[in-house]
Symmetry: none
Subunit: 460 residues, 2 copies
């Protein structure tokens, strides 16, 4: 019996005890955004320190301006080293009356289709996921006496509140956080049968623009036809952001946007993410993006432009015949590949100014942008982790992109020089951030087994 | 001393008391579009009934499905009879923080050029203007014991909300509203020195459209690129309403739009309403209408399309990465000549539907529209009123068109067979519909004197 086989057997034998340990973690209401739960956040950090001690890992709860960051360092039996990142804080629980059982009293629930699931706030996001990794480490330590690779644990308590303290911590503790790769367990499976690694995250540029025309609101009867209307003008500016093929028209917008390699497109095509499957559940049917692209490209490998909000003129009940003095919109761009947020911000502002009559002005508020994150598809650690996941799940892991942005991944790259493997076992129906959050027992059990295999694979 | 001279002297002696009466009227927040102010609208109607009683005029506040309509009937010393129309309702007051003094606490303000003005919501539109007529009647009654002509008062409370109840009222009370001519005091002077009678009014079509896409708000990271964004879609629909020559693109939109005769265009050119003169006071410089047209054409003889309000997505402080489920706009068209409001409404709805993907919907709220109005230039009452205005102001009254729409004028013609004389004393800088609405004290005083003269002139 190889070490790995013994480790997997050990995990199977220990899964009920592992679940009991997780329940203790889930019972702590570590809601980071609510100052009343600051002590609970400290308690969750202390719980992790104690829990890691049971593995023989000496951890520290590091105070910050916000909630503590837990760190620990363990040598491995190879020279390879990974930084493991997760977060012990959870979302608020309101509306409380929609929970079938209290959010911090974890239970095993049976879902309508017979699946067993752990129901509690944080079960999926992210305490259950953290524990898949820690339990995998426990099994390795207990069977082999050491981990296949060295691990630095970095578990924060402000992920649901903008990770406010993490940047400073990375800057001041960079030398203690050195590693070859980051492992992040805060994402999901492709579906119940199929594991998945997120290899790209879109970046973002987010601009607010206010168009100002007349000095004050005008009567549309008296001035209509002669006075510039900022809402009409803003509509024109927005409409001009796309051409009739669904492409964004900003100058050099597609500079740095890579074409996805044909074999990856093939993989994606095989996933069969039809418009009905992706858009049906939200009441839509027709993909809105670039003509000739699959839905999965539109949300993963192609940049976008969306208006996130617009307001101008009279918006109350009934009719008011006014020409507003100003109108505003919040407009964001999701970026991929090597698109440069600063260049795109400049191009957007130039696009607006080019459409502005000389007697009107535009004011901008620029929110912090981020570049997209892309892992090389042929990176050895990625290839190794994919193989390990296939061994566990029996089907190839899909490598997909995430349409959203996880700022900490960008910080690992810029502050620590680390690429990140985003591997998780959540499911789309886990109701994260909602009442009755759950984590499938199978996700938990196979998640532990998956990490046990990945730790071995990364050592090789 | 003739009756008229005595009446004018009486007006001069009584002007401060008249202003005090107006202040009482202005203190009532009779905002017709806001259901929370329904009681205030009833209060304003009751105030008029009491006020007319002080003239010895017995008035009635007639309940309607909306706000009450005040009517009264007074015989005159001649057989001539006029219907006087005004409205006691006012526009909403937002944005409230831009008012220098509270909108319903009237004050006498001194303008930068030294003019005295009454500042309050409704001071110019239309409470101050109504009171110029009532105070002229009061002076006639007090000096001569009776009015030179018979008057039927018709003062409604839904003008700023589409005059919803008025049609039914005209239909059911037509026999009580018989007259030779309608007098309407809801328009302006040409400039501070020059009186004016409006002989044309633009019509209006006012539509609200709500575009619905997804069933609920979506995360723009997860769905951005694939999910239809109703704000972007609405922006495209709005932008497509104009071509690059400033013309409205709706099918058959210009059907029934007459070309102004060359000699009238010559007259208008002589008025020298330059872009600087018309747009400068509101902070603009470049006419926004059809290329190749004078400003005076843009606001009087050409139809328009303006967005009066738009809202969708997140409009609070900061960034939220949301794709809204829906977005709405209020869009109005000013009509001229023989343009057909129903046909234009249909063309607008068709324009929207033609741009709607099959998985999105558009809901419409159609406000009551009106056709444009044109008076014969040689009508005797018009000639008499022009002469009376010249007597008061010392310069000839100009006969122009109005860019605004007063739907009721069309109804007076169709339901009662009445032509309307549109005579008012507002100024372009009165900020009607805006914060800090005002009415010059001189407008109020000379307005009362003007009506006193016109009542005499119409009797002759």
């Amino acid at each position: 019996m190889s070490h790995l086989d013994a480790v997997l057997a050990r995990i199977d034998a220990d899964v009920d005890a592992a679940m009991a340990r997780l329940f203790g973690f889930l019972a702590i209401p570590s809601i980071s955004t609510d100052p009343q739960h600051a002590a609970d956040c400290r308690k969750a950090a202390d719980w992790l320190v104690s829990e890691l001690a049971t593995l023989g890992v000496s951890a520290t709860s590091n105070p910050t301006a916000g909630h503590p960051i837990v760190t620990a360092n363990v040598a491995g039996s190879s020279t390879r080293h990974a930084l493991f990142y997760g977060h012990y804080d959870v979302q608020p629980v309101d509306p409380l009356d929609q929970w079938e059982t209290p959010p911090f009293a974890p239970v095993i629930a049976t879902l309508p289709d017979g699946r067993k699931a752990i129901r509690a706030r944080g079960s999926s996001d992210d305490k259950g996921q953290i524990m898949t990794f820690i339990e995998a480490c426990r099994a390795w330590k207990s069977v082999a006496g050491s981990l296949p690779i060295g691990i630095t644990f970095l578990i924060e308590g402000e992920e649901e509140d903008g990770s406010q303290s993490l940047s400073d911590f990375l800057a001041s503790h960079g030398s203690e956080l050195k590693a070859d790769i980051a492992l992040v367990c805060d994402t999901g499976l492709w579906d119940q049968q199929t594991p998945c690694i997120n290899t790209t995250l879109r970046g973002i540029v987010y601009e607010e623009v206010t168009i100002k025309c007349a000095d004050f609101d005008l009567h549309s009867g008296v001035y209509g036809g002669a006075a510039r209307n900022p809402v009409n003008l803003l509509a024109k500016i927005i409409a001009d952001l796309h051409d009739d093929q669904g492409r964004v028209t900003l100058r050099d917008f597609y500079k740095g946007v890579p074409e996805t390699p044909p074999h990856i497109l093939e993989e994606w095509r095989a996933l069969d993410l039809s418009p009905e499957k992706f858009l049906g559940p939200v009441g839509l049917a027709i993909p809105a993006g670039e003509k000739g692209r699959m839905v999965i490209e539109m949300i993963q490998s192609r940049p976008t432009c969306d208006v996130n909000g617009i307001i101008g003129g009279y918006t109350g009940v009934g009719a008011k015949t006014v020409i507003a003095a100003e109108a505003s919109a919040k407009i964001s761009f999701r970026l991929v590949g090597h698109q440069d947020p600063d260049a795109i911000r400049d191009a957007f502002q130039a696009h607006v100014r080019a459409r502005l009559p000389a007697d009107c002005t535009a004011d901008f508020i620029s929110h912090k942008g981020s570049k997209a994150i892309t892992l090389p598809f042929d990176m050895p650690d990625l290839v190794a982790a994919k193989a390990a996941l296939k061994d566990e799940w029996g089907v190839a892991a899909v490598t997909i992109g995430s349409g959203g942005s996880i700022p900490v991944i960008g910080e690992f790259k810029t502050a620590l020089g680390l690429d990140s493997l985003l591997i998780g076992f959540a499911l789309d129906d886990d109701r994260i951030h909602s009442p009755n959050e759950k984590y499938d027992v199978r996700s938990f059990h196979k998640g532990i087994r998956s990490w046990a295999r990945i730790l071995a694979a990364l050592a090789a």
